[in-house]
């Protein structure tokens, strides 16, 4: 990784990123929340959320991005997503079996419908978003021995 990329890119990229990164994050959240109504779902929405943070990191450098989402927060979100998903699955035992849809189904084509499916989508998106951004950060910040000597 070269030195000039630590501080981010030029002013044009920074301004465009400042205008669009919120919209990208919002679109990811939209895809997650409407995963049981229209196309998309937890995985695709989570990757879009991760991409918004990646965009921030590419444009502004690693300090700004890691201030928005520090490493401890990433670990928390990854673990929380996995545990929430497993917890929802285990709560199905209250009515009978694993992964039982124990919340009422509601009316189709509404936002609050389909029982546990939106909750599972949210859990998966937390895990995928934080996890893929963590992989990106770790791979970018990785430095080999011969690079440090330069």
């Amino acid at each position: 990784m070269s030195k000039e990329h630590d501080k981010g890119m030029t002013l044009i990229v920074k301004v465009i990123t400042r205008l669009t990164v919120g919209l990208i994050l919002l679109y990811g959240i939209y895809i997650v929340l409407h995963g049981h109504i229209s196309h998309g779902g937890g995985f695709a929405g989570g990757v879009i959320i991760a991409l918004s943070f990646v965009n921030l990191m590419l444009a502004y450098g690693r300090d700004v991005a890691l201030k928005k989402l520090p490493k401890s927060a990433m670990s928390f979100f990854v673990s929380a997503g996995a545990l929430i998903f497993l917890g929802i699955a285990l709560l199905g035992f209250s009515g009978g079996y694993f992964f039982l849809n124990f919340i009422s189904k509601g009316e189709p084509f509404r936002l609050f419908s389909a029982g546990i499916i939106p909750l599972c989508n949210i859990a998966i998106s937390l895990k995928v978003g934080a996890g893929l951004f963590a992989i990106f950060v770790v791979l970018v910040l990785l430095k080999f021995e011969w690079e440090k000597k330069e």
């Binding site: 890691l66 694993f98 992964f99 029982g115």
Partner: protein, 182 residues
């Protein structure tokens, strides 16, 4: 149907370019073109969920490839034993083509699948789960075990990458490393 074959030819050409390029940046961009073609193929075959996921994951992979690996001079071994490698590759291609031709004869015709289990999902999915997106109702209700396994795989991958790549694991025996939280 003709657009499908056009896209397939485009993807094959992109893959060949990606292999044959000496420049790493051009090769990575050719791989991205192959992924974009695959995403459009999914759209043509009327699977928008898969198309969205393919497109988004392709973008993330491309960014990771560009940003994390391209600036480093990774050691490549490009010389030696190319005759043996080519022979082995050609042999495997012949074997796989033979097996594929034998196996694809027994498959149902393209576009007319045998749907014994999926018919039930299509008919009763909306009533039983309440989700109007049938893909979501399958992966998070009928086949939720698969999704649990997939999330476990991703969780393990994240843990593995963060454990292998962390700085304290790569130090020498007598080297003192300050663990700065970067």
């Amino acid at each position: 149907m003709i657009e499908l074959y056009v896209l397939l030819v485009f993807m094959i050409i992109g893959a060949i370019i990606a292999i044959e390029m000496k420049d790493l940046l051009s090769a990575v961009i050719a791989v991205g073109a192959v992924g974009l073609g695959l995403s459009i193929v999914f759209l043509v075959l009327k699977a928008p969920d898969v198309a969205i996921t393919q497109l988004v994951v392709e973008m993330l992979c491309l960014i990771i490839l560009l940003r994390a690996t391209l600036k480093k001079d990774l050691p490549f071994s490009t010389t030696g034993r190319w005759l043996l490698n080519t022979l082995i590759t050609a042999g495997f291609i012949v074997v796989f083509l033979f097996v594929a031709i034998r196996a694809f004869k027994d498959l149902p015709e393209f576009g007319y699948p045998i749907m014994r289990v999926a018919n039930i999902y299509l008919k009763e999915g909306l009533v039983k789960t309440g989700a109007s997106n049938i893909v979501s109702s399958v992966i998070l209700d009928f086949r939720a075990y698969d999704t649990l396994g997939e999330t476990t795989v991703l969780f393990t991958a994240v843990i593995g990458v963060m454990a292998i790549v962390r700085r304290i694991g790569r130090k020498k025996k007598d080297e003192v490393v300050e663990e700065d939280d970067e």
